[in-house]
Amino acid sequence: MVPVDRRMLFTDRRRALLGVLGVAVALVMALALEGIFAGSTGQVSRYVETSPADVFVSQQGVRTIHMSISVLSADTADRVGELPGVEWVEPILFASDAVAGPEGRRATYVFGYQPGGLGGPRTIIEGGEPGPGELVADDSAATALGITVGDEVEILGRPWRVSGLTTGMTSIVNTTVYVRFDDLTQVLGRGDSVSYLLVGTAGDSQAVAEQIEAAVPGVEAQTRPLFSAEERSLVREMSTDLMNIMSVAALIVATAVIGLVLYATILARLRDIGIMKALGLTPRAMTRLVLTQAGWTVATALLLAVAITYALGSVVTAVAPDIDLVVEPASLARAGIAAAVVGAIGAIAPLRRVLKIDPATVFRRPT
């Protein structure tokens, strides 16, 4: 058996490469866009996912940290702490602002916690926990803003000394700083309230969360996985419409390129196809020929697109460390399905051309 479809497609390697590259680049658009949003989704939920808390308690109706306002009375911690299954309770304060350094400003989350407690940075890679008037910043933001341990920065209208650096808490949107609970209470003027309660539990965390909601009025209690999922869904719901618009446009481009590749290949081999038709090639076989070529183009382009996207992710991370480009299996699956669909659609025009070939005409002397 002669692999006619593959030979027709790849005989002219330059043209094949241009075509596969064109489709691959269109697929890279969709993959890269999804990858950036997937990376942002992961970054947004990092505080929650790296927290030792099993349950997060917030004001009723508030199910996230990002861009949320949660206010709990200070005695809520005592009431939660008395419930069975609760091992420890850690109150935290939360605010949003911008941290200013010598080389710029970055939007930031500000967490107020008890030093030595469980609401602060998971690791400190340089320096130490904050004392009065001090904060711990993220190393990535510190580098971007020209900050080192011992420097002074401004947040919430007052100066703070950088006592230490943590890592992994800066995203494309913002960074995170940690200050003492008492300092943030004073700055925010929140003498008798907290933002969230971090709760450690023994046994079934979901059961404890439900118990908290039943026993303490006016609160939401969510397990860490659920709370994290809520944070992730924020970014997803914010980006879904935008991504759909961009993905559709990218797939239109991919469809056109596939059509172009196949059409050019068919035109270049009209004579050969005419001979095959004269020798008995059926319409069904011709359809299979064209669709197989579409499949080869799409499959090769998809593999190339994945490779380019991974490479792009490495380059982006090196150039802009705050941008995380994550290629998820679901994203690859979607790209594969979309590529298969556009491959089929792109094959329509060349298929019509092939089916209309009159074998006799291809034997005429070319003019």
């Binding site: 330059r14 241009l18 680049v25 950036i36 602002d97 209208g157 006016g218 056109a256 941008i323």
Partner: protein
Amino acid sequence: MNVAGSVPVARRMLFGDRRRLAVSLLGVGGAIGLVLLLQGLWSGQLTQITAYEDNSGADLFVAQPGTESVLSDASVVPLAAVGEIAGLTGVEQVNPVHLHYTVFDLHGRKEFVLLVGSEPRGLGGPWKLAVGREATAAEEVVLDRILAYQHGLSPGDELGVAGATLTVVGLSERTRSWMTSLVFVTSETAARLSGSTMASYLLVTTPTPDETGAAITSATGLDTLTPATLAANDRQVLAEIMEGPVMLMIGIAFAAATLVVALTVYSGVVERLREYGIVKAIGARRRRVWRIITGQTLTLTLAGSALGYLMYLGGTWIVGRIRPQFWFSLKTSHLVVVAAAVLAMSVLAAALPVRRLGRLDPASVCRGW
């Protein structure tokens, strides 16, 4: 004999196969349309982000010292400053306003919201009402019209937010910011929902912003910013977040368009090798061949770009119907930049076909006549 000078070779090569030309134009047009869509969306976002500052009605925003941006900074000012400022020469009106970004959970979907708490009939409330009236009492709310439409809400409906029940009394127009809707309540409601009794900003009207601003700072120690300054700072904050990914997408889209043009012209060259060989054999020099090729790439990119612009207009119309929260805005400067990039693209796309023809031996194409 100068055949090359009197026969439009480039045009005939390009238009010889109309089907292939149509598919190529679709590919180039799609990629350019995508570039324009991305740029238009980005510009629209930069316009949307400053919706509040641009329409608040204030000449000055009085803010916590060090505040530069509504988007990234949490300004807090004492309400006692209102009385101090009201008595200064040049101050016509001063009202406190609460601004808090927050998330509403509506019908199982998360909506980013800029919660605006203002005094009834004071500065900083909704600047245009489509339906109903302003919030004048506690637990009343005016929603952005698009947000209300997406959730099937209208005046008279109630919604639960952070443990409180708010009654919709009006729908506002053109009150969208970056990825968020503006929601207007009274100062009292905003204070209860945010847990803070202090204002975010004091809005001031004055015929002499510079002098009045200096007087306010001197009297209270607070910073004063014009809406234009705040808006510029907000755009910069947004640009620092999003500009990288947007430019990356635009770059990829241009790469796709360049490849489509290159593929079209290269395919045409390969199919017409005999004709090009004849043209070379009768005296067309390298420069003339280059002009034939770039003539094709230029025609394709210009025609594709025109189609791309039409696709952009069509795309924005469709998106405007199904997702009205997205704004698109293209300036002349953007079109100039895109046009320059398109020209560069046409030159780049010509490289491979020109190289192919440069190595073509005219004698070889005449074999087998």
